[in-house]
């Protein structure tokens, strides 16, 4: 059987990876909670943001962590416009239709990326990429620790924004009761676009935090979309606490899956968890309603 030290390191590494997944999942769950749409383009938009981080570094030498404010802002604007011009206009009616619209968006983004960037794998080299921190038996990469902390801090900032600011209160009002929000004078359409923008801004942040240790190709979106949905479904669609717990759990499952079942078969953990949750408890851990 496995050495407990390796297992311990596996769990810690999984938690660190899961920290960034939390940010990805929070964006997805926010969009679902407010707009009630399942954003299948989530993975592709993350891929696009990762390319933005890569090119900022390649062309102007901006460190991925320093790029956080730029990419978050850019992603917010991109998401806002995407909602106003495409998703908000085309998606109405049945929820599968909205799913198909966002699938269309993801097909377009993936292939535009392939057309412009080519199929090569791109990575960023940073001076701190090979720094490690020793924790007991585990050797943890420094950038993963920074990303983990930054991701959780950003989630707290987002939580405070939603709890305290007027816009945040309006977003929560729309999520809770759309008609009521409209009646008290909230511009619901604007809140939809803002929420979508914030959801994509989370992806911008996640892209900055991922790039120091990860790579990007036009198909990176595929790799993340199922992970993101698994987290959100595990935690309960629309639940923030669920996304946080789900992200960490999935990070650990992924890490231990690779450790116990091997590189190839280990990836099956995510799909199996996803299928089991949907079949056994589709409301997830924290979801109140189905």
């Amino acid at each position: 059987m496995l050495d407990p030290g390796i297992l311990f390191a596996g769990v810690l590494n999984g938690l660190l990876a899961g920290g960034v997944y939390v940010l990805v999942a929070v964006g997805l769950t926010l969009i679902y909670g407010v707009l009630h749409i399942i954003n299948f383009a989530h993975g592709s938009l993350l891929m696009l943001a990762m390319y933005a981080v890569f090119f900022l570094w390649r062309l102007t030498g901006v460190d991925p962590y320093a790029a956080l404010p730029i990419v978050i802002g850019g992603a917010f604007v991109f998401g806002y416009i995407l909602y106003r011009l495409v998703i908000g206009r085309l998606s109405h009616g049945r929820d599968e239709n909205i799913l198909l619209i966002t699938l269309g968006v993801s097909i377009v983004i993936d292939n535009v990326a392939l057309l412009i960037f080519g199929g090569d794998t791109q990575t960023i080299e940073t001076p701190y990429a090979s720094s490690f921190v020793e924790l007991g038996a585990a050797l943890l990469p420094l950038p993963k620790i920074i990303s983990f902390v930054a991701s959780l801090l950003l989630c707290i900032v987002l939580g405070l924004f939603l709890a305290r600011s007027d816009t945040g209160k309006a977003i929560r009002a729309v999520a809770r009761e759309r008609q009521g929000a409209r009646l008290v004078g909230i511009d619901v359409d604007n809140i939809f676009a803002l929420s979508y923008g914030i959801g994509i801004a989370c992806l911008g942040a996640a892209a900055c935090l991922l790039m120091p240790t990860y790579y990007v190709t036009p198909s990176s979106g595929h790799a993340f979309v199922l992970v993101a949905f698994t987290i959100v479904v595990l935690g309960g669609m629309g639940s923030f606490a669920g996304a946080a717990v789900g992200g960490l759990v999935i990070g650990v499952i992924e890490s231990l899956g690779g450790l116990l079942l091997g590189e190839q078969l280990g990836q099956i953990g995510i799909s199996v968890v996803f299928i089991l949750i949907l079949l056994l408890k589709p409301s997830g851990l924290f979801g109140a309603r189905q």
Binding site: I38, V86, R89, L90, S91, H92, R94, D95, E96, N97, I98, L99, L100, I101, L103, G104, V105, S106, I107, V108, D110, N111, V112, L114, L115, G118, H222, L226, F229, T230, V233, G262, Q264, L265, Q267, I268, S271, V272, F274, I275, L278, L279, L280, P282
Partner: protein, 320 residues
């Protein structure tokens, strides 16, 4: 109706004579159109008629491709004999996924996502297990004899694809006339109302997905025999699922000719970008353009023209 019959007879005559007069590459393109229309019809039965949107139809296609290939390579079966076995395997996988998902009450987006996860799980399994030769894929030994379901002249694959396409059209036609089709449409339009009418909603959806599974699996075997090679990404990859969804959605979900129209449109666009890429050096890498066009078409059709291209041709064909 007589006009439609006349048009169909004309199209049929054209399809029969095309390979006798057209250059070889057009025969391959035609084969691709009929093949796509065939596997698209599988998506149409469960996604179009019964309204159960799937993002993972490749799970059936891959099951068929792998079942017949493993039976041939590992167990020495004749390919023609392995074909019905592959269809049976596809139907069984469809039945299992349907029973599990619909028992759990999954609908709409949740059903779409779970089919995606099933296809992904199958892809990973095929990529890691030894009896599927893992990531190496499986190579069928070339021995081009009709008895082996391998043909020297690509014309025979063309005619076989044409025959499959016609069979799938007949199945869809039967559905629009028969009780099963009417019940499926009732389920699509309003499950609760369908239940109130005494329709066993669960059983009908299971039937639709099993039938869809068998058809897509038949397509999987056809693909394996044509190209004599499959690997986990070809067989179970997202691209195949999306392709089946796209031809149907673009052509017209829930219509008899939707998948065929969609396959014609998509293959046409593909050929244009391919020609562009080979003729104009500046456009060497424009292959992704065709998928960009499909993606935009998908959005426009879902948002603005829910009955697909079929709507442009006919008065009303969506079976309701």
């Amino acid at each position: 109706m007589t006009r439609l019959a006349f048009l169909l007879a004309l199209a049929f005559a054209a399809a029969i004579t095309l390979p006798l007069v057209a250059p070889g590459y057009l025969v391959d393109v035609g084969m691709l159109v009929f093949f796509l229309a065939f596997i698209g019809q599988s998506w149409n039965i469960s996604g179009g008629f019964a309204g159960q949107t799937s993002f993972g139809h490749a799970v059936f296609f891959g099951t068929g491709a792998y079942t017949s290939t493993i039976l041939q390579i590992t167990f020495g079966w004749n390919a023609w004999l392995a074909w019905p076995a592959a269809m049976l395997a596809g139907a069984i996988v469809g039945w299992i996924i349907a029973v599990l998902s619909f028992r759990a009450g999954l609908r709409g987006s949740y059903f779409a996502l779970i089919t995606l996860a099933f296809a992904e799980a199958f892809r990973i399994l095929a990529n890691s297990l030894s009896f599927t030769h893992a990531g190496l894929g499986m190579l069928i030994k070339a021995d081009p004899r009709p008895a082996n379901f391998q043909f020297k002249d690509p014309i025979w694959f063309y005619y076989l694809a044409l025959a499959l396409c016609i069979v799938s059209l007949l199945i869809a036609w039967q559905l629009t006339r028969g009780r099963l089709g009417s019940r499926l449409v009732a389920v699509r339009e309003n499950e609760d109302a369908a239940r109130a009418l005494g329709i066993d909603v669960f059983a009908e959806k299971v039937k639709a997905l099993s039938l869809a599974g068998a058809i897509a699996a038949a397509g999987g075997t056809f693909y394996a025999q044509k190209y004599l090679y499959i690997d986990p990404n070809i067989a179970f990859g997202v691209d195949k699922s999306i392709e089946m969804l796209l031809v149907t959605m673009v052509g017209g979900a829930g219509t008899i000719f939707g998948p065929l129209l969609g396959a014609l449109a998509l293959t046409g666009i593909n050929e244009v970008t391919r020609t562009l890429a080979s003729v104009v050096p500046a456009f060497k890498n424009v292959q992704p353009l065709s998928l960009i066009v499909y993606g935009v078409m998908l959005m426009l059709i879902v948002g603005r023209l829910p009955d697909g291209l079929a709507r442009l041709f006919r008065r009303v064909d969506r079976h309701a």
